[in-house]
Symmetry: C2
Subunit: 420 residues, 2 copies
């Protein structure tokens, strides 16, 4: 019999306990052993959770219990969780976590500490989709060329609603908060940070890259307007928040931002709160993984899969997929300035003679070539110029935006969305 201790019995923890009970028949058949939750740690013991497992508010009841084989860390946060998980590993207990923030900062230290002790984290990226398993085990024969993922259901829901129903950003944010899809402070989701944590985890498995959130380009969806969406529709794009990892020779670029993406792409067809991750391998080509990226039961499905895996084999594959560093072609993180992309720009200008010629000259000076341009009337005496460019370097584009912002006939900072 395998005994599990759950640290943090909230929505996901409750689902983990319920799945292990509800599906005990199929789980013990697959695992070869009965798996039971021995106890759970909560902060507030008086809250009713409808569970028949033993609850405690003392974390040592799990960490010092020698009969517990697997610690499931669902407390969230970075520093305290890191300490708890380190103690679990020091006590020789296998660890399963859904904590993406912990891994975004400490995954390499944890891999080192874990050594031969199983440490699994399928639920940390894209909830119920087994993307860690697919990438680490299923695609291991490939150099990964790119990963493009819808890894935040809140943003995808909001973008889908803005597109399908023509609602403004603020209204959809309010609705998402009422539905419980977005937090009272939505920055972590709509600012791209949640997706960035997940991207960093996938990038380690794909490339062995040890980057932290502050090292990579992270932007959100806060500035997307109905005008941008109309432009996207007219030119056959959808707008999505994507986490992108892309290999270019020995460099890897990592970035999270809103994207214009051709409607025909499979990933553009993923709407609503669902997640989807497209992975291109040099041998397999494109594969894509779709499913629920959040929710108690979906996330717990991934947690319990890890528990079964540990029960089955006693030994997992290396935590981040690499038994040793790649010889020779070690990959490094590309500087954000060097990222190349096509861009869409929305520039609000005063509607007077000479403006276009002036702007065209500035584009030329920054070596940025225009692909399409639309002019749309805006508020009185101003117009919005909607421009898409050919491929350009991020640094040049940013410099150009700074220059354009300073022009006396331009109102506010030009908005920019990258085109995939």
């Amino acid at each position: 019999m395998i005994k599990v201790g759950i640290i943090g019995v909230g929505t996901v923890g409750t689902s983990v306990a319920n799945i292990l009970k509800d599906n005990a028949d199929v789980i013990s058949a697959r695992a070869g052993n009965k798996i039971v939750v021995k106890s759970g740690v909560v902060k507030n013991l008086s809250k009713e959770r409808g569970l028949d497992i033993k609850l405690t508010d003392n974390i040592d009841d799990i960490l010092q219990d020698e009969t517990i084989d697997i610690v499931v860390e669902l407390m969230g946060g970075v520093d305290e969780a890191f300490e708890v998980v380190k103690r679990a590993l020091a006590a020789g207990k296998a660890v399963v976590t859904a904590n993406k923030a912990l891994l975004a900062y400490h995954r390499y230290e944890l891999q080192e500490l874990a050594g031969d002790i199983p440490f699994e984290f399928e639920a940390s990226v894209a909830g119920g989709i087994p993307i860690i398993t697919a990438l680490r085990d299923g695609l291991s024969a490939n150099h990964i060329e790119s990963i493009m993922g819808i890894m935040n259901g809140t943003c995808n829901y909001m973008m889908s609603k803005m597109t399908d129903e023509g609602v403004a950003y603020d209204a959809i944010l309010k609705e998402s908060q009422e539905l419980g899809y977005a937090e009272a402070d939505p920055t972590f989701d709509v600012g791209g940070y949640d997706a960035a944590h997940k991207l960093l985890i996938l990038a380690s498995i794909a490339y062995g890259i040890n980057a932290k959130p502050e090292d990579i380009l992270i932007e959100g969806i806060e500035n997307v307007t109905q005008e941008d969406i109309a432009f996207a529709k007219e030119f056959g794009y959808a707008i999505k928040l994507l986490g992108i990892a892309k290999k270019d020779a020995n460099e890897v670029e990592l970035r999270v931002h809103a994207c214009l993406i051709k409607k025909e792409e499979m990933i553009a067809k993923i709407d609503g709160v669902m997640n989807g991750i497209s992975v291109v391998g040099d041998k397999v080509g494109e594969t894509l993984y779709y499913g629920p990226g959040a929710g108690g039961d979906a996330t717990a499905s991934a947690v319990v899969a890890n528990i079964i895996d540990i029960a089955r084999s006693g030994k997992s594959t290396p935590m981040l997929g690499f038994n040793k560093p790649m010889e020779g072609n070690q990959l490094t993180l590309k500087s954000n300035d060097d990222i190349e992309s096509k861009y869409y720009l929305r520039i609000n200008v005063n509607d007077r003679a000479g403006v276009l010629a002036n702007l065209a000259k500035i584009f030329e000076n920054h070596h940025i070539s225009i692909e399409t341009m639309l002019q749309r009337p805006s508020e009185k005496e101003s117009a919005n110029l909607l421009i898409s460019t050919h491929c350009a370097r991020e640094k040049n584009l940013k410099n150009m935006i700074n220059e354009i912002e300073s022009l006396n006939f331009v109102n506010g900072r030009p908005a920019m969305i990258r085109i995939i």
Copy 2:
């Protein structure tokens, strides 16, 4: 160092050897060991393959070579492959195979024979998509409610072309043969048998069901016409050949046939030669896996992933996912007669008074309720009735079709497509 012997060095075998060489840097980093192909078995030694591995036409050079750790079986066929694989296991060698026909017939005997010896087969279903890994490891916490898969790229290509370009079945089949998507004798693909082999493998992992091709419902796409496609478009459906596994209490239905499926479903959005498999788990909900279902490199990507997995851990999870049978709720195969579905029927009738009333009466007698009906002119003095039904039992529907076929005002056997 891990040494591999490849039995059958055709398109996939050549790709396996090339991937192990081309991607040796990332593969040895992930596996923790260098993996090399020691030798390959071919029938015709004089054919140039552009490979620098040792080739032999004597299978014993691999089976009796004690330095070979992993036998990769890519010879195809059932009986001879079964003998070869049994000998490899008897010699204590791990086995990796892409042979779906072998597994459709002998997977349980092989699981028994393999015991603790790794036996892997990711490439046998849906080529480069790691669906075996996802289902066996990633979704193991779930009772699987259903699997619906586009598992045959040839059929999906043909259906997509018939839908997008309005071309007739025979013309598309000819084109597919010219492109190399379909064999000279296309029955194995267009008759649904290839998809059935794959479905049986997935059903064992999902349900522990030991069925053989002859036990389950297998139909192809040969009778789909442009008229059916027009009906589908009008009512918001796509037509796809699907492999379907569905749990209903303690019974599992397994079937392969053309389906009308609502365009909004993710799986309906998968076009061309690509494969896609939707899996619904009782806890996770729907997840979907998309990618190339065939091709040398894509298939070899899955073969090599299995080789890496064996090199990494030395021990795999149980071959078909179950360490022991489920206690209590053992699942059994549902009789084809008991399958329930909605149906679409195309009935060619002589265009005269009383026909509709007569048919309506027959539907009523068989307890089959009509949802929609369209009448379309056909050849002179005949008309096609296009009918969709509410949910009905397969046995009743078949009986009704037999009765309708025998009517003197009906021409030929009514065509039928199930609606998902």
